[in-house]
Symmetry: C2
Subunit: 393 residues, 2 copies
């Protein structure tokens, strides 16, 4: 992992996870950062979400605390107090303002995280010392049902300097059984004004995390936060460089989103759905999301069944505007549907493709315009039902 | 089964189902009927859907032909020809106008139904003779993955006469593997002008089939058609009687919708979700549908897990407007969530409720207004994945 300059991290086991694994992480910037965030729109948003929004609105940031085990959602005013106290505990340790910290939280909904354990955990992280490599530990500490930690890196040039972007994410189902899930953190050493960081993050989020679905549920605790600390030393930034930064940031977020979809609960396949030649970008997204959230499409992929009927059907009810007689569908590059009707096909070869490839690609052409969208999802297996039905708190 | 006057039916095995079971049915009215229909909005609507719309728009109706095995969707202009020719075949047999017939079709998408078999099937039905009891056979002939035939009856008074309403439905998943599914037919001997029948049917549909979800997919072939033949002999109909008729029709449709949800693919539980005290009817429906389509809620019910977190979370992202601190949730009459937080509960008793009752009831109070909505769904089991993943055409 190549670390952006000026960030250090560390993690500890504070007893918040039943497993006894590391469950609290801290990322600090040596200098104040510009910060930006995108948060869940769920009305039952975690108590920490409101705290994060307030802190990011105030001014510069110094770091991120994240803990896993309890989501701190549906915990009322006590929940907000715990989130505030968590930020205050870090602030005390390093001599900063509590408002300079974002607090991420994931785990069981409705259970108040234990503040004493959080404080003890933070203290032990501080005592052990923070390091760039410690940032990887933070990525692991925030895992819940994730099978693997997720990270992505990017780079670009700004004002004659090399700028690094590092992303960490967790998320398995959009919500695990009672879990608020998708957390993503972006660290960059670019010097970037807050409005530009915000705009870049929102655009990157729309083209990545907002194009990903595991089970269609939007968690109470989802957040994507970016910190830019300027340690790369770029004095200026041109319009062209800003475009390059946005592209690099979007790629990092897309890589994370694909990793989250691949690691969906019970997933055996990553499914990439590209809708092209749509009347509008909204239509393209609508059609791709309808396919990506269809339980029938997802179970067909799990069954290695090249089922064009379910794909066409989902596109048909998506609300996108098109002439059904002009639609074509490809699976793994093979045309299976054209001009609104199925194409004679080598089913054995298609089934083989579904058995052999870990990533399944669908391309749908609506022939109604020039817009396009890509959505990432996973297949729907017995294990999804098992994981989500056999869970008991 | 109590049959409305003046309707007769019959069914035959025409070789459209691989199983060799009865797969084509015919319902005839002795006299011309007022007709009304509600159809799928899927852009890949079956070829027969356009034909039905045209026929219903023309004038009075004489009957319904329905066949199962091939959905006649994604079959292009040839599909429309088959649907038209099917209506023409019945018309020839009984000396009527082809436009007086509705043609229902369910089964595999993309395969053209065999017109020769359809014609032979209709001929053998006519030769065997039609009868009121034969209407039950039509209900069975249109089954595909349904485990049981579905019917419901209602009655009311109009102009001094007793009026009967009989409903037949099929549907298991909203779409079975490659199948266009939900078909419902309403027969009544009421004498009712077409505009009133249409309005009553639309209202009944909104409060029944449009409040039901199995897997959220909207099939290519869904239809609900009502025929009113006036054989009850009512000369007049008062405004009050019309209200009673609407109520009776709605109850028949709700019973059919509940039966369809109960018989959802792999379903082990019927789930009734009532959202009350919403700001608007649309909000109530939105919240109830979000819960009813959540894979996480549905797998929890299959796991007999009284998981308030998943219910609250779905309500939270539904788009309904409310104050999360005022929401309460009951499961089987037991309050499990109040004022935005979980309530201490007897988990064992709740799990017992989920194990013992075939129908699970959820009540969600948003405390944001006075509107309400009820949605029916089923749980989400291993068998849903099995049925939908192991299917191969």
């Amino acid at each position: 992992m190549k670390f952006p300059k000026g960030f250090r991290g560390g993690a500890a086991a504070a007893g918040l996870k039943k497993s006894g694994k590391k469950d609290i992480g801290l990322i600090l910037s040596d200098v104040p950062c510009a910060g930006a965030g995108v948060f869940t729109r769920n009305l039952f948003a975690g108590a920490n979400i409101a705290v994060c929004r307030r802190h990011l609105a105030k001014g510069t940031m110094r770091g991120i605390v994240v803990h896993a085990g309890q989501a701190n959602a549906c915990t009322g005013t006590e929940g907000e107090k715990v989130a505030e106290a968590t930020a205050a505990a870090v602030a005390r340790l390093i001599g900063a303002d509590p408002a300079e910290f974002v607090v991420g939280s994931t785990g069981v909904i409705g259970v108040l995280p234990d503040l004493g354990r959080i404080e003890a955990g933070l203290k032990s992280i501080a005592e052990a010392g923070l390091s760039p490599e410690g940032i990887e530990d933070v990525g692991r500490a925030m895992m819940t049902t994730d099978l693997v930690p997720k990270s992505a890196e990017g780079t670009c040039r700004m004002g004659g300097k090399q700028v690094r972007i590092l992303g960490l994410a967790k998320g398995s189902g959009m919500i695990h059984p009672n879990m608020g899930t998708m957390l993503a953190y972006i660290l960059t050493d670019a010097r970037l004004p807050r409005p530009e960081l915000r705009a870049a993050l929102r655009a990157a989020s729309d083209a990545s995390f907002n194009c990903m679905t595991v089970d269609g549920d939007t968690s109470t605790s989802d957040m994507l936060v970016a910190l830019a600390n300027g340690a790369a030393g770029n004095e200026s930034i041109s319009a062209e460089e800003l475009v390059k930064f946005r592209e690099a940031l979007t790629k990092v977020c897309q890589s994370l989103a694909r990793q989250v979809a691949s690691d969906g609960e019970g997933a055996t396949r990553l499914v990439t759905i590209r809708v092209a030649k749509a009347k509008s970008a909204a239509d393209a997204k609508r059609a791709a999301m309808a396919v990506g959230t269809s339980s029938l499409v997802k179970t067909a992929i799990f069954g290695r069944d090249p089922n064009w009927g379910r794909i066409a059907c989902a596109v048909g009810y998506s609300g996108a505007s098109f002439d059904p007689k002009r639609v074509s569908i490809k699976l793994g590059g093979t045309r299976i549907f054209a001009q609104g009707r199925p194409v004679a096909q080598d089913r054995a070869a298609l089934a083989q493709y579904l058995r052999d490839e870990k990533e399944v690609r669908m391309e749908i052409e609506l022939n109604a315009g020039a817009a396009e969208a890509t959505v990432w999802t996973c297949d729907f297996s017995y294990d999804y039902v098992k994981i989500n039905a056999e869970y008991t708190t």
